[in-house]
Every structure is written in structure tokens, then in C-alpha cells.
Assembly symmetry: C2
Homo-oligomer: 245 residues x 2
């Protein structure tokens, strides 16, 4: 009866800025992004069911486009589709998380390698600036700020690779892991923190020298260390958290 599409539903607030020229940010992508954010931000418990009708009302759409979006999210690995049993938000085991981090490590290593081929001096200067900003947060023990700038640095390196396919793939995996980050914000241990800071020194150094293979190696190992911390954290948290059937 009511095709109640909120008049602001067409307003594109997401990414890439508002190109008056390029209008092709379709309604479907809008739904997809909103639903993805909804899940990534942890509004649905881990392993919990995704209530179609409820989300339909929330988004002001019918089931057809919602189910299309769910299929895409399933292919992205964010939810899993059980036959005749609907969608559940995918619960990551320690093993899954470990695999994801290793792939992230491979992608970041690749990004570093390619970045060394393409990065400009200005971009390196920008990353250096961020590096010292991050160092400041480290000294002040401001973990929140540190974490934010840290991610920004990694993002900058990926962008400097000048590879849009890599950029999209990286964003995809980052999204999957982000959900875990929301569920519990990585209380990084002190000793690991200092270690990570030293690793970032070597990252910057290799980047300055445009030492691609070397940077690739460093970045992979850097994420390997992050991986260990993350998996440990999930394990500890998993004990406290309730388990789904």
C-alpha cells in the first residue's frame, strides 16, 4: 500500500562525494551500503538471525531488494545464507579471523610493493606527517587517536598503490574485520604497542627508499603480529561471550 520511501532516501551521503555529473549511484547500492553498515556496526548480534520483514520496514523497502542485498553481502562473506532458514550474520571463529588477517597481510604487502613503484614524494611526506602524529598519540598513550591514525596510514599506502581493484578488495576485507573490531576494541597490550611503533618506523624507512620487496615483507609480518594479538583477543572474549547453538 504505502511505497513509503523516505524522501531523504535518495540523498547520497555515502562516499566519493556528490558528483552532480555522475548520478549512477543507484538505489540498490544505497540499500546495500546501509544494510552493510547496519551489520558491521554490530546492530545484530553475532550469529543472530537477520529478520527480513523488520529490516524492510526499517529501510522502507519491500523484501525483493532487501534479499538481493543479502545475497551480495553473503558473497562478501558478511552473512551466511542457510537454505530455507534465512540469513545469519557470520560468526568468525579464531581460525577464520586468522585467515582473514593473513589475507589482509598479503594485500597490504602487495600495496606496499606497488606503492613503492608509484608513490610521490608529496604522498610520502604526508605519511611521514601522519607517522609523527601517531607517534604523538603513542607518547600520550592515546590509544583511540593512535588507532585512527594508524588505520589512516595503512589506507594511504593502499591508495598509493594506484590499483583500484586492490583498493576495493582491501576495503571488502577491512569491512569484514571491522565487525570484530566493533564487538571489542582491541585492548592492545603495552609491549605489543611499542613493537608496532618500531615496525612502523621500518615501514616508513622502506617506503622512503622505495624498497618494494622489503616493504612487502615488513607489512606482511606487521599484520602477522596484529593477527596474533587479534586472535588472542577473540579467544579471550569468546570465552566470556555466549555461544550460539
Amino acid at each position: 500500500m504505502k511505497p513509503l520511501i523516505p524522501s531523504d532516501a535518495t540523498s547520497k551521503v555515502l562516499g566519493a562525494g556528490t558528483d552532480p555529473d555522475r548520478e549512477d549511484l543507484s538505489l540498490h547500492d544505497e540499500i546495500l551500503t546501509r544494510l552493510r553498515d547496519h551489520i558491521v556496526e554490530g546492530n545484530i548480534p553475532d550469529g543472530g538471525r537477520v529478520p527480513e520483514r523488520q529490516l524492510c520496514e526499517m529501510l522502507g523497502i519491500s523484501r525483493t531488494p532487501l534479499r538481493e542485498a543479502l545475497k551480495v553481502l553473503a558473497s562478501e562473506g558478511l552473512v551466511e545464507l542457510l537454505p530455507n532458514r534465512g540469513a545469519r550474520v557470520r560468526q568468525l571463529s579464531e581460525h577464520d579471523l586468522g585467515e582473514l588477517f593473513d589475507v589482509m597481510g598479503g594485500l597490504e604487502g602487495l600495496a606496499g610493493r606497488l606503492a613503492c613503484e608509484n608513490i610521490t614524494d608529496a604522498e610520502i611526506a604526508e605519511i611521514e606527517r601522519l607517522h609523527y602524529e601517531m607517534y604523538g598519540f603513542y607518547l600520550h598513550r592515546d590509544m583511540h587517536g593512535y588507532f585512527r591514525v594508524n588505520q589512516l596510514i595503512h589506507q594511504k599506502i593502499v591508495e598509493a598503490s594506484r590499483n583500484t581493484v586492490l583498493l576495493a578488495t582491501y576495503a571488502n576485507f577491512a569491512g569484514r574485520i571491522r565487525r570484530v573490531r566493533y564487538s571489542a576494541n582491541f585492548a592492545r597490550k603495552r609491549e605489543r604497542w611499542g613493537e608496532a611503533m618500531r615496525e612502523h618506523e621500518t615501514i616508513l624507512d622502506a617506503l622512503r627508499r622505495r624498497a618494494g620487496s622489503e616493504l612487502s615483507d615488513i607489512l606482511f609480518r606487521h599484520l602477522r603480529n596484529k593477527r596474533t594479538a587479534a586472535v588472542e583477543h577473540l579467544k579471550a572474549d569468546g570465552m566470556a561471550g555466549a555461544e550460539p547453538a
Copy 2:
């Protein structure tokens, strides 16, 4: 033909509901796989429209599940969805192909690195066997056989990484590139062929020594060389091929 995806979550055989035994592979995945193969095998011209109704009849389904599959294929990068203008099979530019090969290189490099951590002696022996089999094809100038075994070796290395996420991601990108391979089967130049054979010697050597970082490097560069050949090929072929709007 044969999907070179071995046994991940998306591997399906094309049998319809005539399989009462194994029913857990959902109908949706079935449609998805069939449609993907249909496109990858080149039944629709590059950049051509994807006729919904026609495919519905071909697959014996209604538009709803077909459109769901198209959305997924779009997220995989195989087709692109134009608002109100339907789906077109995505035409890869030289630039796109180059980016894809670099990402493939990064993934294979990662696979090699992880394989060195996890591979068994038996698996190495198997790869050695394939290597010499491939060498035989090389000596006999049997490009078809060479190509087949070559892909198999790379596949084995990815499998030896023991990382299912990597395996699925690799399969995804391999699928995207496969379409280009169908459109014209890489007439590899002689000199490049010998070079590739030598590279494979070093790959095997590094694998035997479980030299992860080294193997990662070699594999990336190996794919870089493949990339150059592929892009050159697409460029030459693109001249002869029809151009899109």
C-alpha cells in the same frame, strides 16, 4: 567446461534437482554458478547486454532469482549494472587487466609464503611431478598441455597455503581473468615461454627450501611477467575486436 575451482563453498556440479541425495547445495548457488560459467565462457559478447528474459527461459527460472544472481555477479566484477539499463558484461580495459594481474600476483605471492609454512613433503613431491610433466610439454612444444599443468601447479600452491579465504578470493579473480583467456588463448611467445620455465625452476627451488619471503617475491614477479604478456595480447586483440560505444 570444468570449473578450476576445486572444493570451496561455491563449487557445484550442474545437476538439477535430480539429486535427492545431496540437497544442501542451494538452488541459488546453482543458478549463480551456471550464470557465471555462461558469461565466463564467453556466450555473451564483451560489453553486450544481458537479456534477462532469455536467460530466464534458458535456466527455467523467473526473473527474481536471476536478478539476485546478477547482483552478486556485479559485486564480483563480472558484470556491471547500469541504473534502469540493465546488466552488461564488463569489458576489461588493458588497465583493468593489469590491475587484476597485479592483485593475482599479490595473492599468489601470499599463497607461496603461506605454503612454505604449511606444505608437506608429499605435496612438494606432487608439485615436482607436475613440474616435470610441464617440462615435458614444454620440450614437445605442447602449449595446451603446458598451460593446463601450469595452472594446476599454481592451484596446488594456493591450496597448500591452507587458507580457505585466500583460496576463495583467488578463485574469484581467476574467474574474472578466465573470461579474457577464453576470448583469446594467450599465444605465448617463445622467448617468454622459456623464461617462464626458468622462473618455475626457481619457484620449485624456493618451495623446497621453504623460503617464504623469497618465494613470495618470485611469484609476484612471475605474475608481473605474465601480466605484461597478457596486456600486450589484449592490446593487440583489442585493435581487431569490436569496440563498445
